[in-house]
């Protein structure tokens, strides 16, 4: 699709999902290369979040495959897909109850094969978890709110905590569902810089967003969905002027 | 012999049906398991007894039991449900548990823990239809149940209040948007359920001519099983499950020994929860309930 010989980090081939009589996703194919930021855009209800749900194993596609670094992960149990290296954030932020920011980072650690490390008090048995959590805390500039209950934080910080949780386990691919929804220009810019930093550190990012300015300034490649069908894909400057895409958006405007 | 057991089972089943309906009125509409229903049943029995001992006629005793239990149910709704209506449903369930503990203690102190007995058995006359012998009391239990269920059916299916209750059961938020206000209606649901439980209490108390503060516990737990088997979201499931479990219990006791009957009843309940959680009469499998 993007004409590279490089093995894609993520590959969806002909993914189709039918719910009852409705075809939520129809023959969707896309790929994300290593160190690439790819965006999925499209009008509401196009199937963008459904695509994410297929990737994370929440939905089993009626047809098609999902591959991570060449290995099939289609409809595997969610926790195995997470351990394979795919993390995600949610459209409506899903943080853990009363847990503090710090606890979020501790619980999201890379899976530890040694049960003893997980059963003994973390302070004594798992210094690398503490180090990693501290690392992520600093990377995302959350030191000041480390011990605050995550849910009590302002919206923008909550989004950052969710992102911090998602990157703690050093994923290969990060799925971000509307990461800057509801943010002002400055906050969104901060997130954009963050995401570029993450990309440069080796992460691939697949994101869903409605904020066109944000998307155009950030993504290396775009896929456009409408009614579960891929209607266009290409570089941002190509998509911006694509008549099919404009039609789809205008067609949905009330 | 079999037919006789059938009749006994149906009588027991009628009582289960009433209490299961009581449970499922609140559970089906509000999603709350009202653990105090067992004690509402018990209190209804005591109120009915008090009426009979005061030489009042049977229908008055029945009404006394129903009214008393309904009143207590209303109190529980105000204190034990209203403050928790937005909390996870397990919280109001635990608060009704608190009420159940209080009510049983109060009853024990008011009336003593020894069985309260009627001087003579009420309506002990027996009628014989072929191989089957039925006591007048059994007939009253069956008859009263039929009448109460018919009344409930009328209220739920034919009145606007009943329609509103069903609307809330379907979807609370949509109901509110349509102008159905949940507040007074949950009070109605609780009161109705209290009345049914109270009626069952009077009927059982009179049937056995004795009552203790502990009658509610075992029968309450069984009624939960009946509700589950019939379908927690479909209150009419109790009409089938009640007689079914009543007969099953009586048959098991007659042919297997009284000890394994509980095993059978709860085993059935768990099987239904696992294999067909919507119950026998429930429709398509819906969401199984919110988290704790």
């Amino acid at each position: 699709m993007s004409g590279n010989r490089e093995q894609p980090r993520l590959e969806l081939s002909d993914v189709t999902i039918r719910f009852g009589g409705i075809c939520a996703l129809n023959d969707i194919s896309l790929e994300v290369l290593p160190k690439q930021v790819v965006g999925i855009i499209g009008p509401n209800g196009a199937g963008k979040t459904t695509t994410f749900n297929v990737i994370t194993g929440a939905y089993r596609p009626s047809q098609g495959e999902v591959r991570l670094d060449g290995k099939a992960v289609t409809a595997k149990p969610s926790h195995l897909i997470a351990r394979a290296g795919i993390s995600r954030t949610f459209q409506n932020i899903r943080l853990f109850g009363e847990m503090t920011v710090w606890e979020h980072l501790l619980v999201a650690q890379p899976h530890n094969e040694f049960p003893l490390r997980r059963l003994l008090p973390t302070r004594w048995a798992n210094p690398q978890a503490l180090r990693r959590a501290q690392e992520v805390l600093e990377f995302l500039k959350l030191e000041d709110v480390k011990d605050r209950a995550a849910r009590s934080l302002p919206y923008g910080l909550q989004r950052r905590v969710e992102m911090a949780r998602a990157v703690t386990a050093r994923p290969k691919l990060l799925l971000l569902d509307e990461p800057v929804a509801g943010m002002n220009h400055d906050e969104a810019d901060e997130i954009r810089h963050l995401m570029l930093k993450l990309r440069d550190s080796g992460l691939s990012i697949l994101l869903i967003e409605h904020d066109m300015t944000f998307v155009m300034h950030l993504c290396d490649y775009l896929y456009v969905l409408d009614f579960g069908v891929m209607i266009a894909h290409g570089r941002p400057d190509e998509i911006r002027t694509n008549p099919t895409v404009l039609d789809a958006y205008l067609g949905h405007a009330t | 012999m079999l037919l006789q057991q059938l009749v006994n089972g149906l009588t027991l089943g009628a009582v289960y049906t009433l209490i299961a309906l009581s449970f499922s009125l609140v559970m089906g509409i509000l999603g709350v398991l009202n653990l105090a229903i067992a004690e509402l049943f018990m209190l209804g029995g005591y109120f009915g007894f008090a009426a009979i001992l005061a030489k009042l006629p049977l229908p008055v005793a029945l009404l006394a039991g129903m009214a008393g239990a309904a009143l207590v149910a209303a109190v529980i709704e105000k204190i034990g449900y209203q403050p928790f209506r937005d909390a996870p449903v397990v919280t109001p369930m635990l608060s009704t548990l608190g009420f159940s503990i209080i009510l049983q203690n109060v009853a024990t102190n008011l009336w003593g823990s020894d069985p309260l007995q009627l001087p003579d058995e009420v309506l002990a006359a027996r009628f014989t239809f072929g191989p089957v012998s039925v006591s007048a009391m059994q007939l009253v239990v069956l008859g009263a149940t039929v009448i109460l269920v018919a009344l409930l059916a009328f209220v739920v299916q034919r009145t606007s209040m009943g329609r509103a209750l069903r609307a809330i059961a379907e979807n609370r938020d949509v109901a509110r948007l349509l102008g159905v206000s949940a507040g007074p209606l949950t009070l109605v649901a609780f009161t109705l359920s209290g009345a049914l439980a109270g009626a069952a209490g009077v009927l059982v108390g009179l049937h056995y001519a004795a009552i203790t503060p502990y009658v509610g516990v075992e029968i309450g737990l069984k009624a939960i099983a009946v509700m589950v088997v019939g379908g927690t979201k479909r209150i009419w499931g109790a009409l089938i499950a009640g007689p079914l479990i009543g007969v099953a219990e009586v048959m098991t006791t007659a042919y297997g020994g009284s000890q394994i009957r509980d095993f059978v009843v709860y085993g059935l309940m768990i099987t239904i929860l696992l294999l067909r959680p919507q119950g026998l009469l429930g429709g398509a499998r819906t969401e199984q309930g919110p988290r704790v």
Binding site: T56, A58, P77, H79, A82, L95, F96, G97, M99, E103, L106, V107, A108, P110, H111, R117, R118, L119, P121, R123, N126, D147, A169 | V32, L33, I79, P83, A87, V89, V90, T91, M93, L94, S95, L97, G98, F99, S100, I101, I102, L103, N105, T108, N109, V217, L221, A225, Q259, F263, Y266, M269, I270, L273, L274, P277, Q288, G289, P290, R291, V292
Partner: protein, 278 residues
């Protein structure tokens, strides 16, 4: 030298503590079990059988019973995965009743007549177990696995997506809790030296839940506070003896209204707060 009466009370506290902990462990994953008296009963009968009929020493018998009950807990935990909230509560209630009914019929161990012959065991022995398990839970609360349990309780989907195997965590909690309840049962049996199925009824399961809800449902030490409350408070309110159940019922309702997490919670427990970093 403690009077026998107070020794008995203390023993009851220890046993109730263990039962309450068994509810707490399962509750930590977001599941409410109303049938833990069933696991207690299994522990009581199995331990008694081992010490009385086969002469195995008590400590070993307790370990074996805990393991067997733990296995039962795992077996129960799997179908429990399919149920949520009140439906799970009802199913566990049914389970508890089924266990009681089973022992009612189990004539090999007395059936309705009960079982006796156990050797009486001291309060000190009971509290060795109770304290050890409380300490174990306290340590576990500071571990990774407890954070994972809390995450599963808070948002099971998100927990799965950070790589947590929610099945292992939820089923495992049932297994662990069942083992702890079994030890409570074994100790109960050897303290009262007579057991009958009625000892392991729904009321017992409710006692456990009551202790946790009142004492504090978010920290293990809450179970200790709850157990102390339920056993000791009636002693201090002797003049209200006849009304003590009503008082507990009222306390439960009041607690739910005013302080849902119970008496003890994490912030009250601030000294041992998890957050201390390396």
């Amino acid at each position: 030298m403690m009077s026998t009466y107070y020794a008995g009370l203390l023993a009851d506290v220890g046993i109730l503590l263990l039962g309450a902990l068994s509810v707490y462990i399962i509750l930590a994953t977001g599941q409410l079990s109303l049938g833990n008296a069933g696991f207690m009963g299994i522990g009581a009968y199995l331990t008694s059988y081992l010490t009385v009929t086969t002469g195995i020493p008590l400590t070993l018998a307790l370990v074996i019973a805990a393991a067997a009950s733990g296995a039962t807990g795992v077996v129960v935990g799997f179908p429990a995965l399919r149920l949520k909230g009140i439906y799970l509560a009802m199913a566990t209630l049914g389970f508890g009743e089924m266990v009681r009914s089973f022992f009612l019929n189990f004539d090999a161990m007395g059936g309705a007549g009960g079982f006796h012959g156990m050797r009486h065991v001291s309060v000190a022995y009971i509290w060795t177990w109770a304290a050890a398990i409380l300490l174990l839970v306290a340590l576990l609360e500071r571990s990774q696995v407890w954070l994972e349990m809390r995450a599963v309780r808070d948002d099971e989907t998100a927990a799965g997506l950070v790589g947590l195997n929610t099945t292992t965590i939820k089923v495992g909690s049932f297994g662990f809790a069942a083992a702890v309840a079994a030890i409570a049962g074994g100790l109960f049996a050897h303290h009262h030296v007579y057991i009958e199925p009625g000892n392991f009824s729904f009321e017992r399961s409710i006692d456990f839940v009551l202790a946790v809800i009142l004492g504090g449902s978010t920290v293990g030490a809450g179970a200790l506070v709850g157990a102390l409350l339920l056993v000791m408070l009636p002693e201090y309110l002797r003049f209200l003896a006849e009304w003590r159940f009503a008082i507990f019922g009222a306390l439960l309702i009041a607690m739910l209204l005013v302080r849902r997490q119970g008496i003890l919670d994490r912030s009250l427990f601030g000294v041992f707060r998890f957050r201390r970093s390396a």
